[in-house]
Symmetry: C2
Subunit: 309 residues, 2 copies
Amino acid sequence: MINVLFSARPERWETYEAPLRAAFAQAGLDINLSTDVPPAEVDYIIYAPNGPVADFAPFTRAKGVLSLWAGVEKIVGNTSLTQPLTRMVDEGLAEGMVEWVAGHVLRYHLDMDRDICRRNTAWQVHIPPLARDRRIGVLGMGELGTACARALAGLNFDVAGWSRSPKSVAGVTCHHGDDGLEAVLAHSDILVLLLPATPATESILNAHSLAMLPTGARIVNPGRGELIDDDALLDALNTGHIAHATLDVFRIEPLPDDHPYWAHSNVTVTPHIASETRPGTAAKVIAENIRRGEAGEPFLYLVDRKAGY
Amino acid sequence: MINVLFSARPERWETYEAPLRAAFAQAGLDINLSTDVPPAEVDYIIYAPNGPVADFAPFTRAKGVLSLWAGVEKIVGNTSLTQPLTRMVDEGLAEGMVEWVAGHVLRYHLDMDRDICRRNTAWQVHIPPLARDRRIGVLGMGELGTACARALAGLNFDVAGWSRSPKSVAGVTCHHGDDGLEAVLAHSDILVLLLPATPATESILNAHSLAMLPTGARIVNPGRGELIDDDALLDALNTGHIAHATLDVFRIEPLPDDHPYWAHSNVTVTPHIASETRPGTAAKVIAENIRRGEAGEPFLYLVDRKAGY
């Protein structure tokens, strides 16, 4: 019998209990799944940062902390955490992210808003360029960034990607390092931010890097609010250097009512919906990692605590 | 020397002359291209319905009428036309159409308008289903319909297509005939119209067929205005059976200022921009067909005058 503690908000227990039990049964795992297990008896913790567990020290025999979230920046700094930490890479989450990013990039590419929000009867023809002539930059080529870059290349866009370390993705021009960042920014008629939030990526989009984007660039941020220096972005929107931004994530969520993003005519705020982990597919990832832990195999999606993701 | 008459509006001559001459040179064709050739000396006519030629009888030696337009419904009924007629299948046009259709389908799928046009500060989370759980119907599986259906399937949508005659497209559930039409309509959370305008497709979307769509269905029409019974669609929008429609083509264009579509809160009007033939790629198709005509090879995209496309 393997003891698994579910430590997330109560509403998550309601949506996750059944999919988890189904995934454990399917994986042939004999598991005691509960929201209440004495810490010293816990083998694995299924974890979300807004759940009850904050101190990992009492979990003396736990073999792994399995995050339900893709972003782990709220836990990697926790010094009580000595157990292996895995992050969630849910295929449902990646699919949803690809759809949201492809949709908003196409929206900008086609200049949709002028027709969607028009309140007059003006028949003004505006033929966009073809996607093959539209340059897209993707900052962050992890699972999500790579999936989005691939999908955008599949739609014929001219896609460049940037990551900390070198990558190779078919159909995508890949850059890395500081020089690579400048190259990708200069190439981005539309820029997509899919980096993790780490000390190295904090305000990576600032006055200096915004100035490297082509005039009239559009920005799509489904990554993390911390990637953007908000004052610098507002300045660039006000001068017109940046034509528009669609922001799904913010330093404070929900975005406060008095934040200037809400009222800015060149900003679209979406309420952190770009992607959401889906219980059905996420439960299978959790079950697979427990199976691996029990079999002595390496975990999927193990977090590099030093890199921060 | 091959005599080629260019018969379209003067502004088209300005955009097409250089790309055509370049394509002819590249194909090794020795061509006299002009907007003014005595009819009896013309070998090929490059044609648009709004150009000067209306009577084809004087063109006694012409081997082909090469349309610049994809839709040929304005010419197939011309009884003076005895020469072979080809329609334009421009890869730029198909690419642009795929991008426009993918963009608006994703817009509906993600329910983008609520965030794009929002004028308050409400943080209301709305997670859409995954594309794999969104049913799309494509009426018309010609070059454009097939390209769009393929691209939507590539984005993971659950796509069904309908055509007059049986088709087979990887990743798309293909139907045909009257029973097939009902099956596709019942399957369409989002319906895309890409049929040609023919007597058989006139008002194919009418009160009867609209009722076959699921409640809350959305409609995207980049095909032809004649496909829709406008009064029936307005009725279905007013009852809420159809949630929204994005219409790019109309029976009268530009859409008259007093047409109810302009003011309807559940209709997006776009000014016939879903796709446009691109001179650079279209000129290559024209050159290839003249090469084929001279070599005695069958034309590309020959119109079946009886079927009407």
